[in-house]
């Protein structure tokens, strides 16, 4: 069957991707520039037997989505700017209680109410560190409208597979951009459904993993399983435990289910890297600007390339380390005042010189600025 071609908006592709993945529940509170995700979900979910709820606020939005997921439904919530801050406590809850959930952040300028209609990539550190306590996070960042579709499907897959919240960190540029999309046909993309416990079976230790399981099979609330969900540290019975020994075991499980599977979770795009002398690290809409700059630089005989983080958390440590062995200069281009550059510096550990270009005032970077910086960096070494 041939792919249908359509002019589609980024936020629309997110909803279509979610539906492709079997999404049946949205709860949230509309906020620019993510509002189209709520609007379209309200229109489409009832047609497939799903539910849409506009909650009283952002906190209620994520809380209801967590509840729907516990009840066995693939759930999503979307937000921007201040809404992402408001959701942080419940993000930690979903990590701790091991609830699959997709959280979309269509990033806009901040802090506070900031720039509601302008783009930014300034919630990158918050995505990883925004909730209290120690925890890992999976966050994906699309470069295009089509990739918004694909990564929304993937976000659901990873959430279901690892029983954890997954973030789709897109931005106003991609969220509002309309572009040509080849819509995936049924069966073209993998769709993964969580492993659920047998209905009505009494499990005394619902958080005990069976051999071969990455995470314990999930009880569907209302299916007759005895199960308990809490944000406190719990043991394999699901009931709270104050034991530091137990906390160590559970914390290790929450981390290792992600970090033991980094190769499954982390995706990058290597663009013109093979012979490159100056490399960019970028993600999301900014990587489009970088690609445009690289094409012009290459036309001028300057070998520039891009390592694009499709998965931004966990960060592509192995790939960034290899890049630092290959090139002397790494430029981190991002639409903020300097965030992911810190992660790159941490990984590079001085093996290459790391530069930052970016700004948080809502103006996207342009190819000429990137070209000038590459020339400056190259010149400095001569």
């Amino acid at each position: 069957m041939a792919n249908k071609i359509a002019l589609m908006q980024g936020n629309e592709a997110c909803v279509q991707g979610a539906l492709y993945a079997g999404y049946r529940f949205y709860a949230g509170y509309p906020i620019t520039p993510s509002t189209e995700i709520a609007e379209l979900s309200a229109l489409e979910l009832p047609k497939v037997g799903g539910k849409f709820i506009q909650m009283e606020d952002e906190i209620g939005g994520i809380a209801a989505a967590i509840g729907a997921s516990i009840a066995g439904t693939k759930a999503m919530t979307a937000t921007s700017g201040p809404g992402f801050s408001l959701k942080q406590e419940n993000i930690g809850y979903a990590v701790m209680a091991q609830i699959p959930l997709v959280i979309v952040n269509v990033m806009r300028g901040g802090p506070s109410t900031g720039l509601p209609t302008q783009s930014a990539q300034a919630d990158i550190m918050q995505a990883k560190w925004g909730s209290h306590g120690d925890y890992p996070m999976i966050a994906l960042s699309p470069i295009s409208v089509r990739e918004t579709f694909d990564l929304t499907v993937r976000a659901f897959n990873l959430a279901e597979k690892y029983r954890t919240p997954v973030m789709l960190m897109t931005d106003e540029v991609i969220g509002h951009l309309r572009e040509r999309v080849e819509i995936p046909v049924e069966g073209e993309l993998e769709v993964f459904d969580r492993i659920t416990a047998e209905a009505g079976k009494l499990r005394r230790r619902p958080y005990e993993k069976e051999p071969g399981e990455i995470v314990p099979a999930m009880s569907v609330f209302g299916d007759g399983n005895r199960t308990h969900t809490t944000g406190l540290f719990y043991n394999e019975t699901g009931f709270p435990s104050n034991s530091t020994e137990n906390a160590k075991i559970m914390l290790d499980r929450i981390f290792s289910k992600i970090y033991d599977h980094v190769d499954d979770i982390v995706q990058v795009e290597e663009y013109e890297l093979a012979d490159c002398e100056v490399a960019f690290v970028a993600f999301g809409s900014t990587s489009r600007v970088v690609k445009a700059a690289i094409k012009q630089l290459r036309a001028d005989g300057i070998k520039a390339g891009l390592l694009r983080a499709i998965t931004i958390w966990p960060s592509p440590e192995k790939q960034i380390r290899a890049l630092a062995e290959q090139v002397d200069h790494i430029i981190v281009a991002e639409q903020n005042e300097g965030q992911y550059v810190r992660e790159v510096q941490r990984i590079v550990e001085g093996r290459a010189k790391v530069y930052h270009i970016g700004r948080g005032n809502g103006e996207i970077l342009t190819p000429p600025e990137l070209i000038d910086l590459v020339k400056e960096v190259k010149h400095a070494t001569k």
Binding site: L7, V173, H176, L177, R180, R288
Partner: protein
């Protein structure tokens, strides 16, 4: 297909966003690559609103218009604000009610009675965007009439087919009459 950057401007409610969406969709239907974006926020409400389209035979990396090849302005405010930073040979299409307050740096200027035509000839002010679209296409020769009409009818409400056909005809005629 060469790379063409469009900046389509007017005031909120004139339908320049719809114009851009239809233009981009017509391009995609024809097998080209196209993207569309627009300005959001307070400036789009009552003030000058802007919609951008890029059509290309290749990948479109940078998602914004840098130097328009084609500028449409339907209001004085929009012309003052957006008829700038154009390519040297850019095509400027403005409503004939507009007096350019500055030299846009190109000689290809079409001052067309778009708003009056929509109101008095098509007899529906709302069709100014479709009149404009037909005029743009008549100047650039991107699509044949059937392709253009198909893209328009995909987006406009049912029951307005004849009205939109009239708007297309009127837009074409504006450009044909302009030559003199």
């Amino acid at each position: 297909m060469k790379h063409i950057e469009f900046r389509l401007t007017g005031s909120g409610g004139q339908g320049v966003l719809m114009l851009g969406v239809i233009l981009a969709e017509a391009a995609i239907n024809k097998g080209y690559n196209a993207i569309q974006s627009q300005s959001y926020g307070p400036e789009a409400r009552g003030g000058a609103s802007r919609c951008e389209v890029i059509i290309s035979g290749q990948d479109i990396d940078f998602p914004e218009v840098q130097q328009p090849d084609v500028l449409l302005a339907l209001t004085q405010l929009a012309a003052d604000k957006y008829a700038r930073d154009l390519k040297a040979d850019a095509i400027v299409i403005i409503d004939d009610s507009i007096e350019l307050s500055h030299d846009p740096g190109t000689k290809n200027i079409y001052r067309l009675p778009i708003l009056v035509t929509a109101r008095d000839v098509v007899r529906k002010e709302l069709t100014a965007n479709i009149v404009s679209l037909a005029a743009i296409n008549q100047i650039l020769g991107l699509f044949d009439q059937a392709e253009l009409l198909e893209a328009i009818l995909h987006r406009v409400p049912k029951g307005t087919e004849i009205l939109n056909q009239r708007a297309v005809d009127a837009g074409i005629e504006l450009v044909q009459n302009h030559a003199g």
